[in-house]
């Protein structure tokens, strides 16, 4: 059974996705590659703000490209409803670290409807849930990027079905829940500590040293939240994954995304 693509995936959309992901990777991982002579190293605490303004722009360009490249009314409706479900379940999680139940919706949506749709779903769901809870802040662009990747990746995994698929999604969910926490830490690492502390990054230092400092920072801040989130994602995927995936796939079939629209003259209708 081949995968449904709710967004037509042309070479254009794919290359735009790759380029935007490249910009996103730089926005997250720049502390590891920055040269000590660069402007960004002098303004390490300001750089996250710069990226927080740059990322919405590139995500916006990608979204405009996706919708120009073929997002019809069915795609818009499906995107809206799945984003609404993800938004609605977000407050069910526990407080500030409560992104957990949302991840399952994003995973399954990206899985059933393809990588490009997944990216749009992930970032849109983060955006709408931030608007609804009035949580628009410098963290939002990074969350949109990371959640987009998470849902996109679920659509890129090999197309297998049955128990193997659920097992694969559980493993993927655990890895990405942990990775999400690590990435979000990475995004505010430079400004949370300020330069010069024992856990801050050192521009131009060898990769292994900065990785070690980053890991220590994770350990000191959020690992206590990341691990329960990964466990919850896994448990929810096992419990609800099969039925929910079936439900989304059934709706996708009914929506008939890949069927071309043709206008044919009605035979025997009217008087002409």
């Amino acid at each position: 059974m081949s995968q449904v693509h709710a967004v037509r995936t042309s070479w254009r959309t794919i290359s735009a996705l790759i380029l935007v992901s490249a910009v996103g990777l730089i926005a997250f991982f720049w502390p590891f590659v920055v040269s000590p002579d660069s402007l960004a190293a002098d303004h390490a605490t300001d750089a996250p703000w710069f990226f927080a303004l740059l990322l919405p722009l590139v995500v916006g360009v990608l979204m405009a490209d996706i919708s120009a490249g073929g997002l019809d009314a069915k795609g818009v409706a499906m995107l809206a409803v799945l984003a609404a479900v993800a938004t609605a379940v977000r407050p069910l999680g526990a407080g500030v670290a409560g992104l957990e139940p949302m991840f399952v919706v994003l995973l399954l949506g990206g899985r059933a409807l393809g990588p490009a749709f997944g990216f749009a779903l992930g970032s849109l769901a983060m955006f709408t849930s931030a608007l609804l809870t009035a949580g628009v802040g410098p963290w939002l662009p990074f969350q949109m990027m990371a959640a987009g990747w998470l849902a996109m990746g679920a659509g890129l995994l090999p197309q297998i079905r049955g128990r193997a698929e659920i097992a694969m999604l559980v493993a993927y969910g655990v890895v990405t829940s942990l990775a999400f926490g690590f990435l979000m830490n990475l995004s505010f690492w430079p400004w949370a500590l300020g330069p010069g502390s024992e856990l801050s990054f050192v521009a131009g230092a060898p990769l292994s040293e900065n990785l070690g400092r980053w890991f220590a920072f994770n350990l000191a801040t959020s690992l206590g939240w990341d691990v329960p989130r990964a466990v919850l994602t896994a448990v929810l995927t096992v419990l609800a994954g099969p039925v929910l995936l079936r439900a989304v796939r059934r709706a996708t079939r009914r929506a008939a995304f890949d069927v071309p629209v043709r206008f044919e003259p009605l035979v025997g209708a009217g008087r002409q």
Binding site: S15, V61, A68, A255
Partner: protein, 350 residues
């Protein structure tokens, strides 16, 4: 003054201007002044809506940031200053964690610097929180460029559907309770997810049919040349942004130039994509004098602080001076509390 909604972009520019001012000064008096001005405007112009409660959440978040910053400074911070307070037990982590040392002597200077740097971040968060509670999110979505029209529609639909889905969850839970089944635990949550998702997906299909018949999600056919131009602008622009960033991080100054060119090209791509969506806006938010004054006062505060204050803390610590220009500009940023029209009352919200 008659009531109307101020353009959300004006509130965001005002708040971001004050926030930028906060990142440019390490003067605790100026930071306190910014917080005071922001609080004044929020208390004067906050609408009666659910999202308007965000301000207090962001204030609390700001306080947490200050506390975290101080704790981290005591544990991992740079050991500066001479005025010793106490000494924490010290240890060094193994070398695979970069051989980080924590603990050690704690001085007054360390704590003051950490508190001021924390207060900078907290002030910025409070400014963002002010924008969150002053600017209506749905009106912000209406101001999206035309190229993002479809995604904007999806966002508006998602925002209006999400509360209904929460009500659906409660309904399904009540049905479970009436049937004598448990409503707690993960299993109940997973099982109630199915009817909720099924009914939402049915909604999606109906919504799609309704939107199709009313012509939503359509766009005019593109000329091949125009389509190629848009694709070219977007792809080349994004490549320029990525390469420019990478070069700028490597300290090549032409990287910034490449970045700016890439940004301009990519934005041009959005504008051209928007030309294929011929839409008029229903009752667009106007941009009049109150908007200009609001946005201008925020930007003015940022410029004045940039000119009149310094972002570094020098040792030994001294009592901060008050630069008159920056103080005046920040006080002017309180003007929106009087010059903007008050927001409509809840039963007249649109």
């Amino acid at each position: 003054m008659s009531t109307r909604w101020l353009h959300p972009g004006a509130w965001w520019l005002w708040a971001l201007g004050l926030g930028a001012a906060a990142t440019r000064t390490a003067n605790p008096l100026l930071l306190g002044l910014i917080v005071g001005v922001v609080t004044l405007v929020v208390s004067a112009r906050r609408p009666q809506a659910q999202w308007a409660g965000a301000f207090t959440v962001f204030v609390r978040l700001g306080l947490i940031v200050i506390v975290i910053r101080i704790v981290f400074a005591m544990l991992f911070g740079v050991r500066v200053g001479t005025d010793l307070l106490f000494t924490l037990p010290s240890a060094t982590l193994p070398s695979w964690m970069a051989g980080v040392t924590f603990g050690g002597p704690v001085t007054v200077e360390m704590l003051v610097i950490a508190a001021i740097q924390g207060a900078q971040l907290a002030t910025l968060l409070i400014c963002v929180g002010a924008a969150n509670s002053l600017a209506s999110p749905v009106r912000l979505l209406k101001a999206l460029p035309a190229g993002l029209y479809h995604v904007g529609v999806a966002a508006v639909v998602a925002l209006s559907l999400a509360p209904r889905i929460m009500i659906n969850v409660r309904r399904v839970m009540r049905a479970r309770r009436l049937r004598g089944r448990s409503t707690r635990g993960l299993r109940a949550a997973a099982e109630s997810a199915v009817p909720v998702l099924e009914s939402s997906l049915d909604d999606a299909i109906n919504l799609a049919a309704a939107m199709d018949t009313r012509g939503y999600g359509r766009m005019t056919a593109a000329q091949p040349a125009e389509r190629a131009l848009q694709a070219g602008l977007v792809l080349v622009g994004l490549t320029g942004i990525a390469l420019g960033l990478f070069a700028a991080l490597g300290a090549a100054s032409w990287g910034w130039l490449l970045l700016v060119i890439g940004l301009l090209m990519a934005t041009g791509g959005i504008v051209i994509a928007g030309r294929r969506v011929p839409r008029t806006r229903y009752r667009p938010d106007p941009w009049n004098w109150p908007e200009t004054i609001t946005a201008g006062s925020g930007i003015l505060a940022a410029l004045a602080v940039l000119a009149g204050s310094t972002g570094t803390i020098s040792l030994p610590l001294t009592w901060p001076a008050l630069p008159p220009l920056a103080v005046l500009a920040i006080l002017l940023a309180a003007a929106p509390a009087l010059t903007t029209p008050p927001p409509p009352l809840p039963w007249r919200t649109a």
